[in-house]
């Protein structure tokens, strides 16, 4: 039971970091399909910079720098050069998948996967009694998750920036008329998305295992995007959706371990987040007017 809760939190944490990060872009009207790639870039860059410098914090800083640059390029292409956000976003993901594998090979002479020399600190380790058992071996990033959720909530719901982002996404003409710089607001939103995806990637690669493998994200970026939509573009609901999707993942993994006890194939449990998102998007589409493309 305790182990199950720990697994759920560990699987949810990257989804919540990436989901809440992506929320800034999606609220600004950018259906940011490159989140998957940015997460992978973050995971690799953390391991690469961390291994090179010997410090996990410098690793995360490096990952944030890489993701800010990638986000800026993506913004430049879709905002300044009119590129299609979906196709460029898919391209960004392919670039990151290829880039991570290529650089792993070129810089560390490793193929497929590599171990990380550094790992995030885990405040509580080893077998624990009582409440502490629910947080044993969770990384410091996972511990900071509630703070992160609160900051995102503050930024999106209680700050001028959050208001501007929502206005740009929902009523771009009104926002422009009110003097909001649309391009700049989008850039800020996308940079925040990049930063959060670096954290999501770091949690994935150095949160538990301390390793990076080529296809480490395995669609988690797209699941994070689904969590945003499932969460109706709201920070708290997106967090809950991330927890729910992490739970489904944990159930899927456990059913693999206890095969035979349940008759439902693991794959059908793993389908739940995707089917739930489809149903939800369909219901919302049926009952509400389309707000903006991709929303």
């Amino acid at each position: 039971m305790e182990q199950f809760v720990v697994t759920t939190i560990r699987l949810s944490a990257p989804l919540i970091f990436a989901g809440l990060g992506g929320l800034f872009s999606v609220r600004a009207g950018i259906f940011h399909i490159g989140i998957e790639g940015l997460m992978l870039a973050g995971a690799f860059a953390t391991v690469a910079f961390g291994t090179a410098t010997g410090s996990v914090w410098l690793g995360i800083l490096g990952a944030i720098a890489v993701n800010l640059i990638l986000s800026f390029v993506y913004w430049l292409l879709i905002d300044r050069f009119g590129a299609d956000m979906i196709i460029s976003g898919l391209g960004l993901t392919t670039l990151c998948v290829g880039g991570a594998a290529f650089l792993m090979n070129a810089l560390f002479n490793k193929r497929g996967s590599m171990t990380s020399a550094v790992r995030l600190p885990q405040p509580v380790v080893g077998p624990q009694e009582g409440l502490l058992a629910f947080v044993s071996e969770l990384s410091i990033l996972a511990w900071l998750l509630p703070v992160f959720v609160f900051i995102v909530w503050l930024l999106l719901r209680r700050s001028r920036l959050g208001l501007q982002i929502a206005a740009v996404g929902e009523y771009p003409y009104a926002a422009e008329a009110a003097g909001v710089d649309i391009s700049r607001t989008k850039l800020i939103a996308m940079l925040i998305t990049g930063l959060c995806c670096a954290l999501a990637g770091a949690e994935l690669s150095v949160g538990g295992l301390a390793a990076f493998s080529e296809n480490m994200t395995n669609g988690r970026g797209f699941i994070a995007l689904a969590a945003i939509l499932f969460g109706s573009l709201e920070p708290i609901r997106t967090t809950l959706a991330g927890l729910f999707f992490g739970l489904a993942d944990a159930v899927g993994i456990n059913s693999q371990i206890y095969a035979g006890e349940s008759n439902i194939p693991r794959q059908f449990i793993l389908m739940i987040p995707f089917i739930a998102t489809m149903i939800f998007v369909t219901l919302r589409g049926a009952f509400a007017h389309r707000r903006h493309s991709g929303g």
Partner: protein, 344 residues
């Protein structure tokens, strides 16, 4: 003439830029560019069997891109080809595996048809949800890709399991030799004939049929189309069915052709590369065929390059990603436009 030159430049310049950026990175990482270029040339064209490999990969890319061209022209954004290919493969594999010993003249058309129908139905799910419930097709086709991948994972580890395989590469048993359209090389007269027929059909649908005309109108100016009294819902549903049918056909050709079996996690990037093929081909069938050969060559080189040069195959994935990242951008000489809320 200058119009075609402009179009050519518009397509060629992002591709050239992608190669320049990629090669700069390779040079920076200490790889010998001459060796890489030679490896590309060998892997895509010159080495024995390379040209076959290029064509082998061009075949599915071309067939899938036909369907994507139809959807993009109607103004829909279907990124679900990946799942539709898998369902097409499932249809073909099921028929071929469940009817052993039946005459091939019966089984092969049935298998192709099953692939086409399953692909079309899978695509139609997103189409119906879009048309009748206003549910976003980008999200739903994305979700359907994951559901399809898990479904195939279940099929290949459960109902149609080959006991010799497991895990990431679990697959169905091999399809009977009689039912195959080609050997492992994936190039044969039969396959090429099917692609030619598919290309002709797609060309007729797009350029010469009432549906093609109507769908283009729906895509370019939906309001005018509505005033004209076009049945927009029907056109949209037909679009999704056609897109899924072409992707399903491609999946069926994989199973009856080079792959001989349905494999979990096979060709994970094919459906996505086909979108790039459609756009590089300027949403026209001849263009898509040329683009499919180009990206087929790139795919063949990706698989070949690690053998001849030290450059890992991921290097070419970088170039593929850069092409997709840049291909829709409007550089310098084009009219810059805001495409807020506007797809493509």
């Amino acid at each position: 003439m200058s119009r075609w030159l402009a179009i050519g430049l518009r397509v060629a310049s992002p591709i050239a830029l992608a190669f320049i950026l990629g090669f700069t990175l390779f040079a920076g990482a200490g790889y010998d560019i001459v060796e890489v270029v030679n490896g590309l040339w060998q892997g895509a064209i010159a080495a024995p069997g390379s040209l076959e490999q290029s064509i082998r990969w061009a075949i599915p890319l071309a067939v899938i891109s036909f369907g994507i061209i139809i959807t993009l022209r109607t103004g829909e954004f279907n990124i679900g080809a990946q799942g539709q290919i898998l369902l097409g493969g499932l249809g073909a594999a099921s028929v071929a595996l469940l009817l052993p010993g039946w005459p091939p003249v019966l089984v092969i058309p049935l298998a192709l048809l099953a692939g086409i129908i399953l692909g079309a139905l899978w695509s139609a799910i997103a189409g119906v949800l879009k048309v009748f419930f206003n549910a976003d097709e980008v999200i739903n086709t994305l979700m359907l890709n994951f559901i399809a991948a898990l479904l195939i994972q279940w099929v290949t580890t459960g109902p149609l399991k080959d006991d010799a395989t497991r895990g990431e590469t679990a697959s169905t048993p091999r399809v009977d030799r009689m039912f195959r359209l080609s050997d492992g090389t994936g190039v044969s007269i039969e396959l090429i004939l099917i692609v030619v027929v598919a290309a002709l059909l797609a060309w007729i649908i797009i350029e010469r049929s009432p549906f093609g005309l109507k769908s283009r109108l729906v895509g370019s100016s939906p309001r005018v189309a509505a005033w004209q009294g076009l049945q927009i819902k029907r056109i949209h549903i037909t679009t999704y069915l056609l897109a899924g049918a072409f992707a399903g056909l491609a999946g069926a050709l994989e199973v009856l052709g080079p792959s001989a079996r349905l494999v979990t996690g096979a060709t994970p990037t094919l459906g996505f590369t086909a979108i790039v093929v459609a756009i590089v081909g300027m949403l026209r069938i001849p263009g898509a065929l040329a683009a499919a050969l180009f990206f087929g060559g790139l795919q063949a080189a990706i698989l070949f390059l690690p053998i001849v040069s030290r450059l890992p195959s991921s290097g070419l994935r970088i170039i593929e990603g850069l092409v997709a990242l840049l291909i829709t951008a409007q550089f310098l000489w084009q009219r810059r436009r805001r495409n807020q809320g506007q797809k493509l």
